[in-house]
Symmetry: C2
Subunit: 286 residues, 2 copies
């Protein structure tokens, strides 16, 4: 397949690499050109100087950028992919973005007979590198089936959740659950330390029961050490939670704990921890 | 062994039963006598009319009652177990209570050369019935070793966490973690429903990743259905969280989300849901 990949961040870089390794004909574009040329040193493929040029004659175009505005720019802008893509091709968006922009892009694509799938991922940098991502998709079933077979090279699970925007909405549920969960874990660990308990031993015991979570299993060690320079950055979490709150304003959901935790994340940012892992909530509790 | 068991609630009833089934010589006491005579219809053992009488000549006395006050009454009162127990016997307290009362009982026991272990449990009614409880202990190692071998008949894990009170402190960490976690899950599920997603499908996808938890795995089904007449009651959770806040006031811990969730639980109680499972937080989010 002839493929374009727009956006070589810590997720897009290895994902585009998996596509190249799967012997697709991959052309990449990245805003910072240096990263694109670094990509070609690691993988077989070529570099284009605009998203539009990268997308020319492609069967599938992938986008994985920062936010709604970046996404509109690389898709709908003068040099965007929709000015390069041909009819009956497919646009797959891996950005975590709003459901609104997903629906907007779906409509714009439909007008050019291009298929569109919103496909935010979870699994982090490690999942992207190991090809073990979970991909939550929104769109039409026929298009999804085609997209699924291509994304398979970097995914452990790919699910169609409903019409355009449903992938984004599912990712939001994920982030809302994590917000309360991580803060609860942070409060518990802090309490354990202040109570003079051996926090490792406490986790060993309570992780067998009703307090267990992926975050407890995978983050307690670094939370106890106070190490946060890894994982999923607070800046990204705040971006994602912002999307959740906008959507919740529209659909009438109440998110009191997610909103409170978002404010704690603002505190982490104020402390200079915007690039720290979401588990750094623990660092604010002494 | 000659054993007394004080308090035949939904936890104590089956736990005392496991001890009887393990061929110990068990005498039970319960404030409501009817429950004690029902117990003797299910298990081999006898009933005493006071904790003091039940404890006479016993090697081990177990207590599993409602709160600190109940505990002081059945242990330290005129008819309490410490007026019946002999030197070199052991008192094991399965009540979820404060660390302060655990230290107080440890001291009172020591003055009579009686061993004391605070041993709150997790695993709920089902864990008690199946003999699969997790037991978090505080006390001295030599006494713990003796207690451990007896408790084994209803436990899947028994851990000594530190000196007297450490079992209670560990249980508190467990409850603090759960508070934030369950509310996060409730907010996420509510958002999924309001966003028009298939909540079952969403959980199927996100439970493979960083949002996973025991509560998600074991409670999403009933939360989606709005069924809460099972599990761990909100009234008990509020009692436990109250203990956490008292302790946190002393050890300097900050519990902002646990405190907020406690207020939501107050709302569940006001709605008549004091006996509902802790996952009923979901019911307050439409």
């Amino acid at each position: 397949m002839k493929i374009a990949f727009i956006g070589l961040g810590i997720m897009g870089f290895p994902m585009a690499g998996h596509l190249a390794n799967a012997r697709h004909d991959v052309t990449v574009f990245n805003r910072t050109a240096e990263k694109a040329s670094r990509w070609t040193k690691n993988y077989s493929g070529s570099v284009a100087i605009t998203p539009k040029i990268a997308s020319k004659e492609c069967d599938i175009v992938f986008v994985c950028v920062g936010n709604d505005d970046d996404l509109r720019s690389v898709v709908l802008g003068d040099n965007g992919v929709l000015n390069g893509m041909k009819a009956n091709s497919i646009l797959i968006d891996h950005t975590t973005a709003s459901a609104d922009v997903a629906r907007e892009l779906f409509t714009a694509c439909s007008q050019q007979s291009i298929g569109f799938i919103d496909a935010p991922v979870s699994g982090g940098q490690q999942g992207a590198e190991n090809g073990q991502l979970t991909i939550m998709c929104g769109g039409e079933n026929g298009i999804f089936k085609q997209a699924e077979s291509i994304m398979d090279c970097y995914a452990k699970q790919i699910s169609l959740m409903g019409p355009a925007g449903s992938g984004q909405l599912t990712k939001m549920v994920n982030q809302i659950c994590i917000a309360g969960l991580v803060q609860g874990l942070a409060e518990g660990l802090q309490f354990a330390e202040n109570a003079g308990l051996d926090a490792h031993k406490v986790i060993e015991v309570i992780s067998k029961g009703a307090a267990q979570s992926w975050q407890m299993d995978n983050r307690h060690e670094t939370m106890i050490k106070g190490e946060y320079e890894h994982g999923f950055a607070v800046d990204w979490m705040r971006k994602d939670l912002g999307i959740c709150f906008d959507e919740a304003r529209g659909n009438g959901s109440q998110l009191p704990v997610a909103a409170l935790v978002d404010q704690f994340y603002a505190g982490v940012q104020a402390d200079g921890g915007g690039r720290w892992d979401t588990s750094s909530l623990k660092g604010r509790l002494k």
